[in-house]
Symmetry: D2
């Protein structure tokens, strides 16, 4: 694949931008230009990066941040301990619902990629203050994305914090059911901040390439996370990375993915590519509509489907 | 891997036979000797089959039959039509519950591997009588398992039919919600029969190898199903093949799998191996306990994890 | 109250006929003239019956039949035994849903007035064949309604039976969970027949008056059911008689009531009145819209609210 | 009934104290002497108060406070406005669950006597600060209970506030779904305080007598609340006053009731008696076990069942 082909895929799929709708719960997401579509591919073997479309546009990482937060929680506590707090099972419901837990009387959030599990995950990141914990996470994100310039979008953060009552409800649900240690507001501060980082598709592609390269950063051949952790996270991305559309994404795209309501989408082709996509308009499950279409085309073109 | 190594894995994992419990809802399953563990691996490239333990024991295929039924339904109707009737999403609940559908007001069963979706799938198999439809399915199973001797276990079938009231409830639920065409009792007759086929781990390994070989039977290089169909089914096995334990299996074993309450377990290592496992005692989700342990060891030993 | 006042209430409330919709799942209900409103009041003390509007129109009793079926089941088995099979709790969901049972893992239907509990109730009526059981129930209905001419509407029965798949699903759910004795289709035959009786508001008022008179038929001073049974049934009518609108009806009308999708509505003013109402168009919960409005006016006018 | 008979009922029912368990979520409730049973009856007509057993023991009002909070919210806003915020329907689930709302996508809490509806109710009490709102509620409680000495139990309040995370979760759920106006922590402060008032069975009996006397205080013949409000509240107590045991209580006791986890139980016999009961050990639904048994005996002895 070359940039020319990528450009064609951008052109082909841009029409889907008009078929979804930006996240509307905060003005800073609602007001983003919806007619954007960008993609970056980082090839693990050749260390070559190619991009097309709006690949340099900064957007809010939102739920894609659940991946580095989980990786850091695993580094901090070990995989076993993390899996004592959070399961790796699909919930069958939307991202912000406690329904399955409440019905099944689960003792743990079902997976780290629905909000209630992500809040639990963030609570496991070590540090003696919210500032320290967020600072450690930001450092980790910069390293896994190979970009020192990644920073907090203060406007997004203020809005997330102000409108985050459903997340507060989920956090207090965990706390009230004795599943969460620490101060709820402090945990939510880190959680809202992690969702408010500004990234580009290039950042996302680099992060994906570390997962795809068994935990070793391709650009400097240094291990950042354990192979076991990278493998597990790719598995959970497959079964639960796109909320209640994870099974559809798995069936129709066929690589581990993780979406965010900022319009970002991360795809991992194990041992081959890290992929970052961005297009703000979402489908009803909260996943980037044009982004998924484009990613599907890339997967087909490069024969990346892991089930094939 | 050779048979000696397989033998060692049988010995190592046989201890888990005592930690689960046979399916107990029908005598014919409850009375099976629980202290059995068998495995067969069919290597797609070399066309070599190796087995260990109780690989020649016949057992009831049960829910593993949902795979060939889905494949035949796709052959009969095309993938698009089948996906208009059944989704490919995890439900978050046990195999015999309509909970998620009822809560989410879904118009379709969430996936073909929970009972309600499997009944829907079976209803799509073509034929002008239950006998014809079952006969066509049996022929297909014989072909994909490369074994003309596969036959109905009448005792199991009688029991399944007699005790199948929850399945009847699910079928009438579909019918009453206008999601099922045809006569409910006729559809259930085929469904109960498909669950009551006697198979061995060798049969299961051969079936898995066709899925692993993109739809082409490795033993005669003839295509049986489309590549698209084989890919999709492996994806759905990954997200929904082990009921409400699918995510755990995916995270800890890492290949597409499908279980049955007869103790069977099918694993597919794309382009490498078809794997059949058998051990009757089940865990609380209804999956073979020793079978999953053994399969995990095989996957690690042969480095088959698709997320690695 | 005299017939003139009743006539005025008919005129006043007839406007609501156009704001609801007939039950549409069978033609025989859908095609009933929607612009009908009738009412009958039987005064327990004076044994005086007054009626207005379409009081002599025959309509399908539907779910109001759950009351005499419960009364007969209690006569047949004793109250204690019946309450070992069915609880007296509101479900929080619509009349034909198993949701609450499935979520709470209940061992019994929550109450006898949702369909799943009504099917259970009907299964407790004694008799060695469906014909005998239905015949006994019909005899009981004739007696409690003081009308020998009550008979089965064959057209309604055929339709109910033909389209009753959700009820079949509920019955097999009970059977599969070991909560139902006897043959499902036989039980459903009686159930569908009991729903298909033709009655008038006069019939309903007479039945209500027996409940209101502590189980003694006012017209001949003979006890038909126990006082304990009459009291319990009025209580369950209050908490669960109008499906998921029971609490609203209790709060805004304030007497024990039971509705049917044929447009019938029974109200009991203890020790004062038996009331029958009829108007086919239903609200979204399946209760007669104009019927409830009219009944509310009657209750206010006669100061019958039991909570006042 | 005289005090001698009441004494006998205390003696008879005290055995049930050992069959339940005190609320255990806060030490101040867990450590209460479980072997207590008290009752007070206030006769509306004769203005006579009789008591027996532990009638002068102060206990935490807990959920019984939901009744005066609702009454004050109605006085402050009118019944119509309150019913635009809160329904009057049973939920089918335990007192602290959002399940029914979440499943049915309800726009309002289902009733004012489950916690989520009670929090909503408290938010409707007028006042420009939490202190003012609580002060107004306390004044109202003193008046309806005819006892100026009623005061806050600071130890209970501190514990309720400290351990109230599930209530916080419910409040933020309402807030996040745009159903709650005002600051969540301020609303919860009033809510936790209202639950922490110390009362006696005499207080409860007096409050009940105002409800039973159509809103007029029997002791001074002055109206405190509207008749409409008193009638509605008695109805909602009947359908939802004892959580997911309301239907059972209605069927087996048969008067409007409201329980609290402090062991209190209020019963209203319209136009006859206000009744207060106290016994700390609770059944699994959170209702006073000996209290319900005693109240049932009182209702039978005095023939108070409103469905009879």
């Amino acid at each position: 694949m070359n940039e020319e082909t990528l450009d064609e895929l951008i052109t082909k799929n841009k029409v889907y931008c008009s078929m979804g709708a930006n996240a509307s719960y905060i003005p800073a997401l609602a007001s983003v230009n919806p007619n954007q579509l960008g993609v970056s591919l980082y090839h693990i073997g050749s260390k070559e990066l190619i991009s097309a479309g709006d690949a340099s546009v900064k957007f809010a990482i939102e739920s894609i941040s659940k991946v580095p937060a989980l990786l850091l929680a695993i580094e901090d506590n070990g995989l076993t301990t993390v899996l004592e707090h959070i399961n790796t099972e699909a919930t069958g419901f939307t991202f912000n619902s406690p329904l399955n837990m409440e019905i099944n009387h689960d003792k743990h959030p079902l997976n780290p990629f629905v909000n209630i599990g992500a809040i639990e995950t963030t609570s496991l990141i070590k540090g003696d203050s919210p500032d320290t914990r967020f600072s450690r996470l930001l450092t980790f994100v910069k390293e896994i994305c190979h970009d020192e310039s990644i920073s907090l979008n203060e406007e997004i953060y203020e809005s997330e914090s102000k409108t985050g009552d459903i997340n507060r409800s989920l956090a207090y649900y965990l706390k009230g059911n004795h599943m969460l240690s620490g101060d709820v507001e402090s945990i939510l501060e880190v959680y809202f901040k992690q969702c408010s980082l500004n990234v580009t598709t290039i950042n996302i592609a680099m992060m994906a390439s570390v997962l795809g390269n068994k935990g070793v950063k391709p650009w400097d051949n240094k291990r950042l996370i354990s192979e076991e952790s990278a493998t597990l996270v790719k598995s959970v991305m497959t079964t639960a990375g796109l909320y209640d559309e994870s099974g559809e994404f798995s069936a129709h795209v066929g690589i581990p993915g993780k979406s965010g309501v900022g319009g970002g989408l991360m795809g991992v082709a194990p041992n081959k590519y890290g992929i970052g996509v961005f297009s703000p308009p979402l489908d009803k499950s909260g996943n980037s509509l044009a982004g998924m279409k484009l990613l599907k085309d890339v997967v087909i073109d490069l024969q990346l489907n892991i089930f094939s």
